[in-house]
């Protein structure tokens, strides 16, 4: 008798989550940058700076290279769409949302891969040296990071016997509290993957334009105005999505249960708190670490894969 209302609510809250994510994502990026500025004894540009940058970029006229094909033009929209979709699949404020039933964690990794393929193709499409250099490096980093990410997700899936993120959150958050040594390993591996996939410091530097070291920036060098704005926004969404995956897997306590719509305000407050902590932690990590040579990146990501596999093995042995 309450199914119709439930469905209506579910769709409403799904839309609310979509809006929340797309509006909050630049704020998270701004928060991370602000924390970094504080740690480096700078006053910083304020947490709202990414919004100002986005507004500025949307008001500019786009300049596109002569030999750019349609691929170059559609890529920002595809990348933005992929990241938004990914953020919709992850249970961020509630477990029982209609979108999250549509795809499991493997599809989620696939969505990230789709965005990556398009952005790399667009980078090579222009034919500049930097574009293809960045694309190749991005592929090198991500082909090492992806198996590690899958292994991390599989560890959580083994524990909850499901590859659906809502089921995983449900098992980990709403049942009896158990210490999972395997998840500790997975969490370490996940942090490494997060740093690598979001072009953060030990692997890539998001604020650099030094030609020898950049990966992500090299790929988007030819973009301007609204295209660049969409790509920057997509990067913020990607960071938001990754941190949300981390929250869902390792600290899911507080995400609203099935049918518990009254838990939503608390869920949102807890989400903001966790995001603030995660952003500050990310800033600390980036401040204490030094950028490593690109040839050390495979070893770094190999460590992530090793940790994730160890987590999986320990789950098999200890059953926890």
């Amino acid at each position: 008798m309450m199914t119709e209302y439930d469905l209506l609510f579910a769709i409403l809250f799904q839309l609310a989550q979509l809006l929340l994510v797309v509006l909050l994502a630049p704020l998270l990026t701004g928060w991370v940058n602000q924390c970094q500025a504080w740690l480096q004894n700078r006053s910083g540009a304020g947490v709202l700076q990414p919004y100002r940058v986005l507004r500025k970029l949307f008001h500019k006229d786009a300049v596109i290279a002569h030999n750019a094909s349609w691929l170059f033009r559609v890529t920002p929209y595809i990348v933005f769409g992929c990241m938004w979709l990914a953020a919709a699949i992850i249970p961020i404020i509630a477990v029982d949302l209609p979108f999250s039933q549509a795809a499991d964690v493997i599809a989620l990794v696939g969505v990230f891969a789709l965005a990556r393929v398009f952005i790399s193709l667009a980078a090579m499409d222009i034919g500049t040296a930097f574009g293809s250099l960045g694309a190749r490096r991005e592929m090198l980093v991500s082909f090492l990071a992806e198996p590690a990410l899958l292994m991390v997700l599989f560890t959580a899936s083994m524990i909850s016997h499901s590859t659906q993120l809502p089921r995983i959150v449900d098992t980990l958050a709403h049942h009896q509290f158990i210490l999972y040594p395997s998840l500790a390993f997975a969490a370490l591996a996940f942090v490494i993957v997060l740093l690598a996939e979001n072009a953060r410091i030990p692997v890539d530097n998001p604020s650099t334009h030094l030609e020898l070291t950049m990966i992500h920036e090299a790929m988007i060098l030819e973009y301007s105005a609204r295209h660049l704005a969409l790509i920057e926004w997509a990067s913020s969404l990607k960071l938001f999505a990754y941190i949300s995956i981390g929250i869902a897997l390792f600290v899911p306590h507080g995400i609203a249960e099935v049918g518990n719509w009254a838990g939503l305000p608390l869920a949102i407050v807890l989400l903001l708190l966790k995001l603030m902590l995660a952003g500050a932690g990310l800033a600390v990590l980036e401040t204490v670490m030094a950028k490593m040579r690109i040839f050390r990146a495979p070893e770094f990501l190999g460590t992530a894969f090793l940790l994730a596999v160890l987590g999986l093995l320990i789950h098999f042995l200890l059953g926890a």
């Binding site: 158990i178 210490l179 040594p181 500790a184 160890l310 093995l313 200890l318 059953g319």
Partner: protein, 220 residues
Amino acid sequence: MQIPYTLQFINLLAALLLLIAFAMLAQRRILSLINLFAWQGALLALSTFIVAYSTNQHHLYYSAGLTLLLKVMLLPYLLHRLIHRLNVRWDVETLINIPTTMLVGIALVIFSFNLAAPISQLAEGITRGLIGIALACVLLSLLMMLTRRKAVSQVVAFLSLENGLFFAATSATQGMPLVVELGIALDVLVATFIFGVFFFQIRETFDSLDITHMEKLKDD
């Protein structure tokens, strides 16, 4: 089925021990290697203490204390002093490169888990699955002894191998008699002293701690 929290905590510590064994395998610097060894000792002492608490065996408290004294404080101190006197702070040279070593390490972990599975089913203690991890720690230390070139890191590997054995003893059989443990502790201590003397002898003869030079010692 809900397993008690003490056991969950021991499982977590066992997983961390395995993690440290891998970290030692990947470590390039000798100072960090010794610090990792001290951390391994601390985890071992903590897990022994928890086993003692949960099974209510008093002699295990003594062995936890002994581990803390010997493996967290005395041996790392001795090793630090030793490398200070030998003036060896350079990076450790490995025979195989580190990613390959890690892959071999994973293979070893899978092997030892498989090997320990039937034994674990026979064991009746509170800590069944831990034999596999302890065995993996032992094998990883052996691997480290094989892949390192320098004598100091080989000795650290030897000491961490003993840590793995000790963990197997406390987790699988709930500790050996106190006399045996005292004997082993003394052995390890004496071994460290003898190794220290050896280091000086090796360096005096070859001007280096690289043990590949020992292949020159042929009787012809």
